[in-house]
């Protein structure tokens, strides 16, 4: 990992930036808490310890992992679980385009760097003003987040297996609350998305008694039909 970081540097620039490092550490800590919850909720819900641990290593996308595990624990099929997670991760394709020239030129740097593309690493990289700083910010935040996420998921999974019956502790309520925390920033800012999400939720709830688990969530995408693209008509509303 270290050598990747080094080969990425063109010259030996002064990239010592305590403020950036502090921000990255804060985001890693926050991500760690989410990881702990993910591990604990998955295992307490009935999955073996290796499932959240391996999933975090190979999928490495918080919201998609929570969604997939939520559907699996509710008894949904693997197709619905994977499809929901993948739809959530389509935004990573857009982020990976945005940071494509940040990763480095080597084949290994690009193959490994691609796995580290997340909302957070893209944000850190794109906030820097020159290419060298962008590259360093991407790799430092990427390696930091990947490490803390996976270590914390493991710790959470081990703790979760000691918990026993989840309903007693109300951990089943923690999972939807996590989703609320993840989605609130977007709902707060965008009124058209709010409307689409509300309609989608109604569709999903109505479909729940009628369709197999996992399918209602996909049907919720119908809510997007009421969304008016771009904020042009927003002013009139």
């Amino acid at each position: 990992m270290r050598s990747l970081l080094r080969t990425g540097r063109v010259r030996r620039p002064d990239v010592h930036d305590p403020e950036l490092l502090r921000d990255i550490a804060l985001v890693c800590t926050a991500g760690g808490v989410v990881g702990l919850s993910f591990g604990a909720i998955s295992v307490a819900g009935g999955l073996p310890v290796w499932v959240p641990v391996v999933m975090s290593l190979v999928v490495y996308a918080g919201a998609a992992q929570f969604s997939a595990v939520g559907i699996l624990l509710a008894g949904g099929g693997p197709f619905a679980a994977a499809a929901t997670g993948l739809l959530l991760n389509t935004r990573n394709a857009a982020f990976s385009l945005a940071v494509a020239d940040v990763l480095g030129r080597g084949r290994l740097a690009r193959l490994v760097g691609a796995h580290l593309v997340t909302d957070e690493t893209a944000a850190f990289a794109l906030a820097q003003r020159d290419p060298v700083r962008r590259r360093v910010a991407f790799w430092v935040s990427g390696i930091g987040l990947f490490t803390t996420w996976n270590v914390c998921v493991l710790a959470g999974a081990l703790a979760g297996s000691a918990l026993g019956d989840t309903a007693t502790y109300g951990l089943d309520a923690a999972f939807p609350a996590v989703l609320a925390a993840l989605v609130l920033p977007a709902l707060r800012e965008q009124r058209p998305v709010r409307r689409a999400a509300l309609l989608g939720a109604v569709v999903a709830l109505a479909a729940t008694p009628l369709t197999p688990t996992g399918v209602p969530v996909l049907l919720a995408l119908a809510g997007l039909l009421v969304r008016r693209p771009s904020g042009r008509r927003e002013a009139a509303a």
Binding site: V54, V58, L86, L103
Partner: protein
């Protein structure tokens, strides 16, 4: 269940990595239009809210009981008031747990 879990995990892992590889592979040759980016972001929010609603209110196709949605509501209010993530999780779980201890289903 275990076989299904492995299938779901592998499909999600391979698909997610493929999505992340589009940038490095198509490097410089293509740009995602702003409208498509907006649509993808909106779709993610719609999915998460639907998952939230069905997860909070339903259990095996029926109503989940009052304790869970009450806990989720407390967690949601905490999140709305920008409480730290750990507080949101613990607040939701504690509310549902206490209600169940008091006999609420």
């Amino acid at each position: 269940m275990s076989g299904g879990v492995v299938v779901a995990m592998l499909a999600l892992a391979v698909g997610t990595y493929a999505l992340r590889l589009t940038g490095p592979l198509l490097h410089g040759r293509v740009e995602v239009p702003a409208r498509v980016r907006e649509l993808l972001a909106a779709a993610a929010v719609v999915l998460l809210v639907a998952l939230l609603a069905t997860g909070a209110l339903t259990e095996s196709g029926g109503f989940a009981g009052w304790a869970r949605p009450a806990g989720v509501l407390v967690g949601g209010v905490l999140a709305w008031r920008r409480a730290p993530f750990a507080v949101v999780v613990l607040g939701a779980a504690a509310t549902a747990g206490v209600l169940r201890a008091l006999g609420v289903p």
